[in-house]
Structures are given as structure tokens and as C-alpha cells.
Symmetry: C2
Subunit: 314 residues, 2 copies
Amino acid sequence: MAAEHDLDAALLSTNFDLIQGLPLNVKNRVCALKKLQIDSIKVESDFYKRVHELEIEFETKFKSFFDQRKAIINGDVEPSACDVPILEGLNEEQIADLNKHTEADPSAKGIKDFWLTVLRTHDLVAETIEEHDAPILSFLTDVTTAASQDPPGFKIEFHFATNPYFKNSVLTKTYVLKFEPEEGAELSFDGPHVSRIIGDSIEWEDGKNVTKKAVKKKQKKGANAGKFLTKTVKAESFFNFFEPPKSKDERNEEDDDEHAEEFLELDYEMGQALRDTVIPRAVLFFTGELQADDMFDFPGEDGEEVSDFSDDEA
Amino acid sequence: MAAEHDLDAALLSTNFDLIQGLPLNVKNRVCALKKLQIDSIKVESDFYKRVHELEIEFETKFKSFFDQRKAIINGDVEPSACDVPILEGLNEEQIADLNKHTEADPSAKGIKDFWLTVLRTHDLVAETIEEHDAPILSFLTDVTTAASQDPPGFKIEFHFATNPYFKNSVLTKTYVLKFEPEEGAELSFDGPHVSRIIGDSIEWEDGKNVTKKAVKKKQKKGANAGKFLTKTVKAESFFNFFEPPKSKDERNEEDDDEHAEEFLELDYEMGQALRDTVIPRAVLFFTGELQADDMFDFPGEDGEEVSDFSDDEA
């Protein structure tokens, strides 16, 4: 399609030739439509703000369910006998099979490792959990989410029982959202987007910080050449989640920001998955009936397993 | 993971072994959580209904923009000179280049083939448009959408100027939505889903129906063996959009419904794309600055082009 104009300009639009060929007065009409488009997108941003208000209104309605869930998981409440199947789609024989191998255990309190299992079953979250994180996540008593108006956005709270790893009882991750298009970039507006992500500092007990590791490195040059020096470097860990990537406004010029926006988006994706799926549907991840963040692929229904997160995202 | 139980049951849950190994009293607690889950999902359905009400409220706000757009496209209103760039990201030289090849054409009314170009630029919609559809879609004067409360859902209207192809001045496609989970299948609820799709009958002028074609077939058997018979069969066409697939409730046992749900979902996907992106962002598809249904890939921003519709969907 691109013919006389240079490559840069050609890349800007698949319909460049068509636009170029339009009579000037028709070009002016298209231009007027773009002006209208910018104005209508500003109204869209009001719509998204209203949806956010609705989410806040509904949080109180969901809170009662989440509080009851927490009480059962932590053994504060013993539910009466239950008449819904523990797994969907089993026949009577299979249900009997599921039950026959075990007896009641009076010493078992609540549901052990509930949240660890939930997090490990959700594809996207599971990818961030290392073996050394598991014993720490065993201390989770609840995972909650709450919307906020000021700053607008939402936070996710990980509540921990007293544990030997860190002093915090809650680790919070906050997503600050922007509901308006950027000035001058209205046309690329696509709904609420993350403007800043804030994580709690973890007060690790001595020697328990799994986000750091010591590496020994042989010095190649200088006075210490040939000697081993110990250096502390970043280690893979779920708990790096609380040291989120910097947003555009927070980064300074020295920061290597080639992939910074991508990391920010990926972090936001995990935040959304926790808020929209993992927290509200936790028991279905515990039973393994759900796996991916936004696909309801009860395998009983169509045998296929779908994951939205292809390997090349990792 | 699956060990003693049969394959069918194993497929039901990635955490089957874990669930099977739980003490009976703990199984009962998990069961109680599933009961809570079902109740909380019912509240979710109220949330989606409220969002739908919000959409209806905002439609009136957007209508004024859409009416102004229609007037400009069809030459009923001549806009004054416009100061926004016709394509994003061009430098002054490129803008001059874009303009220098053409002059004003006093005979040009409105914006010729506006909607045809828009539909042909949106990846998913473009796939459904055949060469024989283009001259018909040239008669489009407007494409609109409206939410409805009874039945709940939305419709899309294609408005046509008087044309030699069919008598209808409007072709409507209606999507009836269900905001509640199916009784007994609450746990697989994932928001509003389509329950029925209705299309207008097209009153084609004689010999103009592009959704049918005559094929000559040589008879192999019987009294007419060796003779050619003319048979009318379905032809590929954008206008098949108005003969939507049947929903579960409409299908009877004889219908080959192996892929029926898939076709229904794909049709709904196209309806959503028209409603959420093509109609509200039409001018950006006309200029070619947008292409896919839900990705804002202004190539000036990051050079990548992303399509949500991989070839294996086609």
C-alpha cells in the first residue's frame, strides 16, 4: 500500500494511501470526525469512573462471604454438613471413591495451606512462586482486596499469621489507576490504566530474606584478583511482588526502561487476576476446578485447557 | 498426579489427589466454601446488571457525538476548518506530503465509503466481507448500537441508503443476554453471556441475493444421470451475519450442534467488537490507526502489531 511516502509515515496507518488520496475538503471532514472522537472518549472516562464506584458499592456485599470464608479456612467456625459436591461432574461411584480413602481427623484445624494451594493453582501467580516461598505462604490466613477512591484504584492485602520469616502481619500491594486519557493522547485511551504501583517493605527476620541470595565471585582484576568475594544479588521469589516496577513518572533517565512499561503491565495483570478471579473464586482454585485467570475451563465441559498466558510472556 | 482413580475423574481437577487426601471433616469445610461461592456468584450477577444499566444511561450521552458524525459522513453538515492532525505522529513535512497530492473537490459529498472502509479495516469484521459485498456496503449511511432492557441485551443497526440490492432500509442484529448464572451451573458463571441472537430477514431484490449461489451438478444416478441440475447453495457473504447460529434453546436434536456453541460465541464476539470498538471508534478504523478489535496498537507507539484473532480461529 505504501508507495511514495517514506517508511515511517507508511507505518502509521494501513490506510495511508486512501487518506492521502482524499480531496482536501473530504480530509477536513475526516479531521472533524477525529475531533468528535476525542470528545466522546472523554465521556468514556466518566463511564469507567462510574463502574469503579459500582465496584466500591458491591465490595460491602461481597465482604460478608469473604469473612465467612476466612473463618472456615482458619478453623474459627465449623460449618454444618454440606450438600454440594466437592468436585463438579463426579458420579456417585466417583464421589464414594473420593471419600473412602480418608476419615475425619479431629486434630485438623480449618483448611491447611488453603491460600498456598490457591496461589499455586492459578497459572500466572504460580509462575512467580519458588520452592523457598512455599513454607512462608503456608502462614497466609487471608487474601483480600479493596477499592479506594483516593487515590483511585485498589489494593490487595496478604494477611499472615505470626511467622519466623518477617515481622509484618499484612503485606499490601496498591494499584493507583488513571481513569482519564493522557492529555494529547486521547485517541489511544483504552479504559483505566495503571499509573503507579506501591508495595509494602518487608521486615525480614535476620537471614530469612528469600528475595536476596549471596553469590561468591572470583575477582578477575585488581588487588584481590583470584580471591572470592561474597556479593548479595536479587533472587527469584514471589515476594518480589512487593517491590513493583516503577511507573513512567517515577523513573529517571538513568533507569534502563526498555521493558519497564511491559513489566508494569505484567504486574498490573497479576493484580487484576488476584482481584477479579483468584480472590473471589479462591475455593475453585483450591479444588483445581479453575486454573487460568479468566477462563472457565471446567474440563468436564469441553476437554480443552486454555491458558491466556503463553510462554513467550514469561 | 492422577493415580488410582480413573481418567475421567482425574480430568476433572488438577488437585484431585489433594482433595482426595483431605480428612473427611476438612472435605466438609471445603464443601461449605463451595456453597458460599455459589451464593457470592449470585451477587455478581446483580453487579453485571447494574453495569448494563450504566451502559444504557451513557448511551444518551454518546448519541449526540454519533449524530454529528452521521451528519458529516453523509454530507448534511460541512464542518469548519479543523486543527487536529488527520493521522497521529506525522511531522510537518509528512503532513504537507499527505496534503499536497490533492485539491478540494466541490462535488465530493460527505465521506465516500466511510463505513465500508471502517468495516474492512477491523480484522475480525474484514474476514467476513467478500468482494461481492463491497458494492452493497457502499450504501451504508450509519451503523448504530443500542442497549435494551427487555429483552436484556443490545442491538446493532446497519442503516442503508436506497439501493438496488434489497428493500430494507435498516438491517438489525439483536443479542439477547443472560446476566444470571444457569441454575445448577453457578460455578462456571463468568459474566453476561449470549442466550439468543436474532437477525433481520433481508428482502433481496430479484437476482441480487449474494448469500446464495447457483451451482450446476452432474447427476450420477437415477433417471437424470449425466444431466446437469442447478442447485442453490449458501455463499460466503457478510450478509450471512443476519442469519445467526441458533442458541441451545432453539436447536433441536437433529441439528448438528458439534460446533454450534462455538459459532454462537464467535458471532457474539463480532457483535461485541462492533458495539465496543468499531462503532465508538469508527474514524480511527477509517484512518487505519486502529485495526484489531480490542488492541490499541498505534504503530507509532511501539512498532508491534497485535491481533487477537489468530488464524486458527477462522
